[in-house]
C-alpha cells in the first residue's frame, strides 16, 4: 500500500466508523428511553435519505451531472418491492425482505439504464430538466396504475374498475391511493429496521467508495473533469457515465424499498420533484463529492425541521433562512476569503491551503 492508498483507506474507514458510532450512540439512547417518540420515528427515514443522498452524490459529485429526478428511482424501487412483498406473502419473512430489496434495486437499475441512455447524451441544464421530466412521468404513470391479485394471477389496469377480481382476490395498488399495509407484513422484524437501515447505509458506502476508487471510478471522474480530454485518451465517456447513473439509480431504489416497507401507506405524491430537490440540497450542503459530508448533512438537515417543531409555523421559514445563509456562508467567494482570514488570525504563521 502506498501513501495515497493508505490515506484513502483511512478516510473510508473513518466514514464507516462514524456511521457505526452513530448507530451505537442512538441505539443506546433509544433503548434507555432517552429519545422521544418523535426522534425514534425519524431513525429509519434518516437511513432512507442517507442512502438516497449518497446515491445522488455519485451522480452529482463524481459523475458531475445534475439529476433532478432521483425521487423517480426511489419511487420505482419502493413500488416494485412493495408489490413483491404483498404478492409473495408465503415466502418466509427474512428472505422475502432481502428479495424485496434486490427487486427494488434491480427495477430501479433497469429504469436508470433506460433513462440514462437518452439523458446522458445531453449536457448541463438540459440534462437536469430531462431527469426532472422523467421523474414526473414516472410519478404520473404510477399514479394511474391499478394492480390486483387473485387465483388467476396478476391483473393490471389504468382505471379503478379495469379488471374483475375473483373471490378472495386482493387489490394491491390502488392508483393515487397507492399501496397500503406493507409495513404490517413485516411486523416481527419492525424493531430491526433501524439496524437494517444502517446496514444498507454501510453497503451503499461500500459500493460507492469501491466504485469511486477503482479504475472505473477514475474514468468516471476523468470524464467529469474534462470530457474531451477523457475521450481523447480512449475513455468511453457515455459508458462510464451510464455506469455511475445506473448504480446510483439502483441504490436510490434501495432507499425506496426501505421507505416503502417502513410505512403503512405508500403514496406516489411523496415522490415529487420536491423530494429530488431535497436530496440534492443534502448533497450540495454536505459537499459535492464528499460522502461523509452527505451523511452528516442528511442527518442534521433531516432532523432540523423536526427539532424545530416547537416553533410550529415558523419552522419551515427558519429552515429556508438557514439554508440560504449556509449556502452563502459556504460558497460565496467573499465569505470564503473572510473565513480564511479569520482562520489565519486564530492560527498565525500556519500556511493554510485553500480548500477546494
Amino acid at each position: 500500500m502506498n501513501k495515497n492508498e493508505r490515506k484513502i483507506f483511512k478516510n473510508n474507514m473513518l466514514t464507516y466508523l462514524m456511521v457505526i458510532a452513530f448507530f451505537v450512540i442512538v441505539q443506546t439512547m433509544s433503548s434507555t428511553g432517552h429519545l422521544s417518540n418523535l426522534l425514534n420515528a425519524l431513525l429509519v427515514p434518516i437511513c432512507v435519505y442517507t442512502v438516497a443522498t449518497l446515491s445522488l452524490n455519485l451522480v452529482v459529485g463524481f459523475s458531475g451531472e445534475l439529476s433532478l429526478g432521483h425521487a423517480g428511482f426511489m419511487c420505482v424501487g419502493a413500488y416494485a418491492s412493495a408489490l413483491f412483498s404483498n404478492i409473495a406473502q408465503n415466502v418466509p419473512l427474512v428472505p422475502r425482505f432481502i428479495i424485496a430489496i434486490l427487486i427494488g434495486a434491480a427495477v430501479a437499475a433497469v429504469f436508470g439504464f433506460l433513462i440514462g441512455i437518452p439523458v446522458l447524451r445531453l449536457r448541463g441544464d438540459y440534462l437536469a430538466i430531462v431527469t426532472l421530466a422523467f421523474g414526473e412521468i414516472i410519478k404520473n404513470l404510477i399514479n394511474i396504475l391499478y394492480v390486483g391479485v387473485d387465483e388467476n394471477g396478476l391483473h393490471v389496469a389504468t382505471t379503478s374498475n379495469g379488471y374483475k377480481l375473483a373471490a378472495g382476490g386482493k387489490q394491491i395498488m390502488k392508483g393515487a391511493l397507492g399501496i397500503s399495509g406493507t409495513s404490517a407484513l413485516y411486523k416481527p422484524i419492525k424493531s430491526w429496521f433501524f439496524l437494517i437501515g444502517i446496514i444498507l447505509v454501510l453497503i451503499t458506502l461500500f459500493i460507492i467508495q469501491n466504485l469511486v476508487y477503482s479504475r472505473t471510478g477514475r474514468a468516471i471522474m476523468a470524464a467529469r473533469d474534462n470530457r474531451i480530454a477523457a475521450e481523447s485518451v480512449g475513455i468511453n465517456v457515455l459508458k462510464y457515465k451510464l455506469t455511475a447513473f445506473v448504480v446510483s439509480a439502483a441504490l436510490a431504489g434501495v432507499a425506496g424499498v426501505l421507505y416503502s416497507h417502513n410505512l403503512s401507506m405508500l403514496k406516489v405524491s411523496t415522490f415529487d420533484y420536491n423530494l429530488s430537490i431535497l436530496i440534492l440540497v443534502y448533497v450540495v450542503l454536505g459537499g459535492i463529492g464528499n460522502l461523509r459530508g452527505s451523511i452528516i448533512a442528511t442527518v442534521i438537515l433531516y432532523a432540523l425541521p423536526e427539532l424545530l417543531r416547537g416553533f410550529s409555523n415558523y419552522r419551515m421559514l427558519i429552515y429556508a433562512v438557514v439554508l440560504i445563509a449556509m449556502m452563502l456562508f459556504n460558497w460565496a467567494p467573499a465569505a470564503r476569503n473572510w473565513r480564511s482570514r479569520m482562520l489565519e488570525k486564530i492560527r498565525p504563521g500556519k500556511e493554510r491551503k485553500e480548500a477546494a
Binding site: Y126, I129, A133, L141, A334
Partner: protein, 295 residues
C-alpha cells in the same frame, strides 16, 4: 371541429401564461446563467398582493395590479442582490441553484404564515364579456382574449426593448460575455438587476392572468406553473426570447389537448414526454444556439 377550436384557444390561453413566466426564466438564464427556481413563487406572491389589495385594502383593481408589479419587481431586485449576487463567482454552479431553492421555500412559507394554507378564491378583475362566434357554437371567454392580447403586447414590447434600447443591448452584451461587456463600459450588476426586475414584474402579470383563468390561490400555486414554464423555456431553447414564447404556447396547447383527448391524469406526463423527444432530436431546444465545444 368546434370543440377542437375551443381546446386550441384555451391551449393558447394557458400557453400565453406559460410564455410570460418562461420569458422571466429565459432572460435570467440568458444573463445570469442560473436557473431561478424561485421564479414560480414570485407569481404566487404577485397574485396574493392583488388579492389582498382588493379585498383587504379596498384598492381599485388597476391600482392593485400596479402595486403587485411594483412589489414583485422590488422583490426580484432584492432577492438577486442578497441571495444570488454573492454566489455569482462561486466554485460550483449548483450553489446558486440550491440558494434559489431556499428562496423558493422562503417565499412559500412566508405566504403560508401570512395567508394560511387553505385555498383562496381569486377575485374577478378582468370583466370582459364572452364572445360568441358561429351563432353560439363557439364561445371564447373574455379572460382568454385579454390574456392573449396582453401577452402579445408584452412579447412585442420586450423584443423591441431588448433589440432597440440601450439597456436592452447591454443585456444582450452581458449574456454574450460578461467580462467583455464590462470592458465596454456596461455595468454588469445593474444590467443583471434590471433583468431580474423585468422578469419579476412579468411574473406579477402572469400571476394575475393565471389566477384569473384558474381562480384558486394557495402558497403553492406558483410552483407547478413555474416548473412547466421552465420546461417551456428549455423546450424553446433556454436563453432565447422567441424560444420562450413559442415553447410556452406549444406547451399550453399540448397540455390542453392531452387533457382533452388522452387523459387528464397523465397530461403532465405527456408534456414532459414531448419535451424529452424534442431535446433528443434538438439537444438545445427549438431556438437554442448550438455551441461547439472546443479544446
Amino acid at each position: 371541429m368546434m370543440s377542437f377550436i375551443s381546446y386550441l384557444i384555451s391551449g393558447i390561453n394557458l400557453g400565453s401564461v406559460y410564455a410570460i413566466i418562461a420569458l422571466g426564466y429565459t432572460m435570467v438564464y440568458g444573463i445570469a446563467k442560473m436557473l431561478n427556481f424561485a421564479h414560480g413563487d414570485v407569481i404566487m406572491v404577485g397574485a396574493f398582493v392583488i388579492l389582498t389589495a382588493i379585498t383587504k385594502a379596498g384598492l381599485a383593481p388597476w391600482m392593485s395590479v400596479l402595486l403587485a408589479i411594483v412589489i414583485c419587481t422590488l422583490m426580484g431586485i432584492t432577492i438577486e442582490a442578497i441571495a444570488y449576487r454573492p454566489l455569482r463567482k462561486a466554485a460550483s454552479p449548483l450553489a446558486v441553484l440550491i440558494t434559489a431553492i431556499g428562496v423558493s421555500y422562503l417565499l412559500q412559507n412566508l405566504a403560508l404564515l401570512l395567508f394560511g394554507a387553505d385555498a383562496k378564491s381569486f377575485v374577478t378583475i378582468i370583466n370582459v364579456p364572452n364572445v360568441s362566434l358561429f351563432g353560439g357554437q363557439l364561445t371564447i371567454k373574455g379572460i382568454t382574449i385579454v390574456t392573449i392580447i396582453v401577452s402579445a403586447i408584452i412579447m412585442t414590447v420586450l423584443t423591441l426593448f431588448v433589440k432597440r434600447t440601450k439597456p436592452g443591448r447591454a443585456m444582450q452584451a452581458v449574456s454574450e460575455d460578461k467580462d467583455a461587456a464590462q470592458l465596454m463600459g456596461v455595468n454588469v450588476n445593474t444590467t443583471i438587476s434590471l433583468t431580474f426586475a423585468i422578469g419579476s414584474g412579468l411574473a406579477a402579470i402572469a400571476g394575475l392572468l393565471l389566477c384569473s383563468a384558474y381562480p384558486t390561490l394557495t402558497p403553492y400555486t406558483g410552483s407547478m406553473p413555474g416548473i412547466k414554464a421552465f420546461v417551456a423555456a428549455v423546450f424553446g431553447g433556454i436563453g432565447s426570447i422567441p424560444g420562450a414564447m413559442v415553447g410556452g404556447i406549444l406547451l399550453g396547447i399540448i397540455e390542453i389537448f392531452g387533457r382533452a383527448y388522452i387523459s387528464t391524469q397523465i397530461a403532465d406526463a405527456i408534456c414532459f414526454a414531448v419535451l424529452i423527444i424534442v431535446l433528443l432530436v434538438k439537444p438545445t431546444g427549438l431556438f437554442g444556439k448550438n455551441v461547439q465545444e472546443k479544446v
